[in-house]
Symmetry: C2
Subunit: 328 residues, 2 copies
């Protein structure tokens, strides 16, 4: 599709050979705003695509404080004992202002980060959700080409980022705590509809009774939702990431899901549907970037927004002005 540069070819070969330093560098190209870097990133993706797609992609969400980093550490370590290779990525458009992004603080996954078969990468920052989501999606390809067969994609549990993560994963896992009104918070955001499993974390010590109650509540609540076209009934399970209990059960849940959906064809159909969605997303993200990064627009857009703030123009007049500016 495009002229290959030796630099990109060499880096791609290193990534495909499983070199984690090369993988990191590759993702840095994906995350860069510079046109030259974006050109290399596009080539890397083309090289890596034929080697990608062999993984299981697991989305993990939950509000700050639910114990996502501890859970990912425990779950990732379990996978590694099963001879799996684990990459941990994140979609978190708020991470630039550090609103509770777990991956910004790698030290919180201190055993996992030391494993040869683990790769941990914080979320791209200073970006719109669309931008972060695209970069994460492209990073998945590089991770898969590097041989990572389990991709954990964490999101911080605010706003629309769950929808983005749901649209790029095979299995979507919602972490919850018992008590503290957290049930309602989860319900109001419509996340439960997306969840393939709800895992109640911190089911240890004095919390165990409350956790068991919460499990019954969620099971009842899930009955109110229509059956998914996966044929899968979302499951509720308890765990304590801190005490490392119930983690193997979560993995077994995921394996049952994979058995079912690979047999009934849903797994492949979902990936194809996601690919169609991402074709449109990639195009639209490109169109927007192309527009907003134009030097004239960068200069004039803030002025037009200011005129709107002062009541001196309308959105339609301003949009027409900017669209014409770009065309000329």
């Amino acid at each position: 599709l495009r002229k290959k540069t030796p630099e990109a070819q060499q880096l791609a070969e290193q990534i495909i050979a499983g070199n984690k330093t090369a993988l990191s560098r590759g993702i840095t190209f994906i995350e860069s705003q510079q046109a030259k870097h974006q050109y290399i990133a596009a080539q890397l993706i083309e090289y890596c695509l034929p080697k990608a797609n062999k993984s299981i992609r697991i989305g993990i969400t939950g509000v700050p404080g639910v114990g996502k980093s501890t859970f990912i550490e425990a779950f990732g370590n379990l996978l590694i004992t099963q001879d799996k290779k684990v990459a941990v990525l994140a979609v978190d458009p708020t991470s630039s202002v550090t609103k509770g992004s777990i991956l910004g603080d790698k030290t919180r996954m201190e055993t996992l980060v030391k494993e040869q078969d683990a790769f941990i990468r914080p979320s791209a920052s200073g970006e719109t959700l669309g931008g972060v989501a695209r970069k994460t999606r492209e990073s998945i390809i590089l991770c898969e080409a590097a041989g990572f067969d389990h991709i954990l994609i964490e999101t911080v549990g605010v706003g629309q980022s769950e929808t983005a993560v749901h649209s790029m994963t095979d299995f979507f896992l919602l972490l919850k705590l018992a008590g503290a009104g957290d049930e309602l918070q989860g319900i109001k955001r419509g996340i439960i509809e997306m969840a393939d499993a709800i895992i109640i974390n911190k089911a240890d010590g004095d919390n165990q009774k409350k956790a068991a109650q919460a499990k019954s509540e969620f099971q009842r609540a899930l009955h109110l939702y229509p059956t998914k076209n996966t044929g899968w009934t979302p499951q509720v399970a308890l765990c304590s990431a801190l005490e490392n209990t119930g983690i193997d059960n979560v993995y077994e849940l995921i394996l049952s899901y994979l058995d079912l959906t690979k047999e009934n064809g849903y797994f492949e159909q979902k990936r194809r549907d996601q690919n169609k969605f991402w074709l449109l997303q990639t195009i639209e993200e490109h169109l927007k970037r192309n527009f907003y990064q134009h030097p004239d627009i960068k200069k004039e857009l803030p002025l037009q927004l200011q005129l709107i703030e002062e009541g001196k123009t309308t959105p339609f007049v301003a949009a027409t002005f900017l669209l014409k500016l770009k065309d000329n």
Copy 2:
């Protein structure tokens, strides 16, 4: 901004004079896919803008069966007895398949539709949400220019259409029923966070006790949400649109809201913020339309989607191909 045509000027003058037939024709131009019609629509908006913006825009949502059409009829008639002019529009991307759009069936508002001071227009159909939302937003301008001072914008209560309606209205009203698990359905969609008032409809006959219970439940639930930066505490009220009780109370609620937010400046600030949002939405909608309506893209996009379905290409390769096609 652009060369005016006599046809557009004449139609705009008729709209501004309050001619409802002209208003209908104007909205038909806004809804048309033809370039010639879109050109007239753009001129109409420019003519009408200086005359617009003097209305109160009220969003109304609720699941099918909650009685939206009966409520709008009762509420619209109340406004007309107060010498107001009422326009009823809809944002309903599903209306092409008639999934419960109230406005597709005008006969359900049979008294309101006969009023000289009422204008009722069904949702544009066969479109994406972005397209429908843009057209509704532009239709508001024409309605306001025609002297309609109360704009009711109905949405059918599925998916993201509430967010679109919330972003173009001053006051957002959620209609509910007592019982039947409907409370939870409302909560899970995150609509309650947007609501300035929750109105429990069909609070009549045997329903009254259940309705009063539901009112208490919602009031308790609303306490769990943080205070809005409007300074307004969302209210819960009962009504029976069928028996025409409690409707005046709803109107008084809205007037209190307007008093508060016009005094504390939030009303104007929200409109300015909405205008900034709509500047970006208008630009992005235009970029997408411009791309997807290009003849080469119209021909090639379905083929690329088919290749993805067959697993013969990837979203990135297909996107790159299509973006280059458009550039040439």
